[in-house]
Symmetry: C2
Subunit: 313 residues, 2 copies
């Protein structure tokens, strides 16, 4: 799947991923009203609204991009109906040929971590049947519990040719609270915790290589360009998933060090900046009924911003 | 809810929680066969089997214990039907008067973390309606992203009188990989990372106190008794959720330092050791049809083991 992701990035010329994180505040009123008319102001109504919203955006942008990243929290918040909408979104995106990166940030140990890995990237055994469950292509994983939480995902990735992105340096302001702590390394030198985690990602990933990159990638926030440069060197074979572009403050020019010399090795996520583009002054002329066209324009502008930054570095 | 948990521990004399982590391998064949006869070897069939299994155990032990801890991964692995079984289990346990600690280990940032918090501990706004979603009482939370991931949970806990347990030192062997790293503290002294995280839990929790303990608790594995002693001192107001008893190797005598001088302040989890007791040689005479009675006997033995250890310290 890492090979497929790289191929699709080369074909589209777009090292970007659209974050399908549907907040009800982003959904045009015409969609909300239709959903509530059918299901009421219920979890089912909310789930129908976000599914219709997602479908419009996917239809408008799928030919421009290699991948989408649905954030499962935005579906889980609407309970079972929300998770049904998550599954419909995953299935629809895969039908459209998109790579699906599930932003689930799961992290547990042993058989529990294996259950998450099988549910999201593999098949679960039920009696004599081997049943696919959520069927995403990649999942994000939290490293705090160490290799015990990662290895079950790696085992499933090896079998299914799927991949993971391990949280290394997250895009939020308080990521420094623990991730930037100065650690005394085994040789007595001082390193930041995220460097230690990045080194582990590099080591784990060396056992699970695709053609050019590992099936074990990393998450490094666009809001930390200098840390991106450091981690690019620590993890030369890891594909880097870069959140924080746009609404969180990251710009194309900040991102050049996340890419390797071939202009590959990273994929930049934007969620609100794309899916709620019509609410941004720059794209307001589209109006809410043409929200998906506004998203397409925002995708084109994002691709241009990042390609220009890579070409001019 | 932390006050309710403390009250129920006092009333039952049982500082223990039963982990409802149903693996199909634990479910007696008679239950499996009935579920597959009705739904086939499908996710629905698996979900029906674990729900019936759970109900039997809850009916057999609910009067002995203050709380249950369903591990959501064991339900999520069966997709939407599995999560329906999770919700049915949560609802059933609450009807029985049990405190429900949802072992979800979620951790994200900003509005995403808020979505998880609202889904599991609060209400979600859908139009003009405020809708409860999964309705657990406590949730486990991963600290790797710092306060940005914790504060949204704390805000919901404050409003709803619910609580969280933050992962500090997990029970698995590789928890040392990052959690035990030597960190240079702000004053130049050296501490383990879990001590830094524990100190943060203490600080966060001081803003959100119940009568005797904070709504912000901590997870510290039974497999690390010395670290439990250290963390008990660092976080005097945090209730400690202690996994790793029984199947993972922790014994009652190892646990005395997790409790404070009143014999409170900690709650010890056992999952497989209780719910699959009938598969253990010690309780094998019950046979699989009386699996729930075996679980009751295992609960009684666990309470006795821990109470004896506390009384003899």
């Amino acid at each position: 799947m890492i090979n497929k992701l790289v191929d699709k990035i080369k074909k589209t010329g777009a090292p970007i991923v659209v974050g399908l994180d549907p907040n009800l505040k982003f959904v045009p009123s015409v969609i909300i009203e239709a959903a509530f008319a059918e299901y009421g102001e219920t979890l089912e109504g909310a789930a129908e609204a976000i599914w219709q919203f997602n479908r419009g955006i996917v239809d408008a942008v799928y030919d421009l991009i290699p991948a989408v990243k649905p954030q499962i929290a935005m579906y889980e918040q609407f309970g079972i109906p929300g998770l049904v909408a998550f599954k419909k979104t995953v299935d629809y995106c895969r039908e459209k040929g998109l790579v699906v990166i599930a932003d689930i940030k799961r992290g547990d140990i042993g058989s529990t971590s294996e259950s998450y890995a099988l549910a999201h990237l593999g098949h679960i055994q039920v009696g004599s049947a081997s049943v696919p469950v959520f069927e995403e292509d990649f999942a994000t994983v939290n490293p705090y519990l160490g290799i015990d939480g990662i290895k079950p995902f790696m085992d499933v990735c090896r079998k299914e040719h799927k991949g993971i992105f391990v949280l290394v340096k997250t895009s939020n302001p308080s990521s420094k609270e623990f991730q930037d702590r100065i650690v005394i390394d085994d040789d007595g030198s001082q390193k930041k915790l995220y460097e230690i985690v990045g080194r582990a990602v590099d080591s784990w990933g060396s056992e699970l290589m695709g053609d050019s990159y590992s099936y074990v990638g990393a998450v490094v926030g666009a809001t930390y360009p200098e840390e991106g440069r450091i981690l690019r060197n620590i993890m030369p074979k890891a594909f880097i998933l870069v959140p924080g572009y746009g609404a969180q403050g990251g710009k194309g020019a900040d991102l050049v060090h996340f890419f390797d010399k071939d202009g590959l090795g990273a994929i930049v996520n934007s969620s609100r900046g794309i899916i709620a583009a019509y609410q941004n002054e720059k794209y307001a002329s589209y109006g809410e009924t043409a929200y998906a066209d506004a998203s397409r324009a925002a995708v084109e502008d994002m691709i241009s911003d990042i390609r220009t930054a890579i070409d001019n570095r």
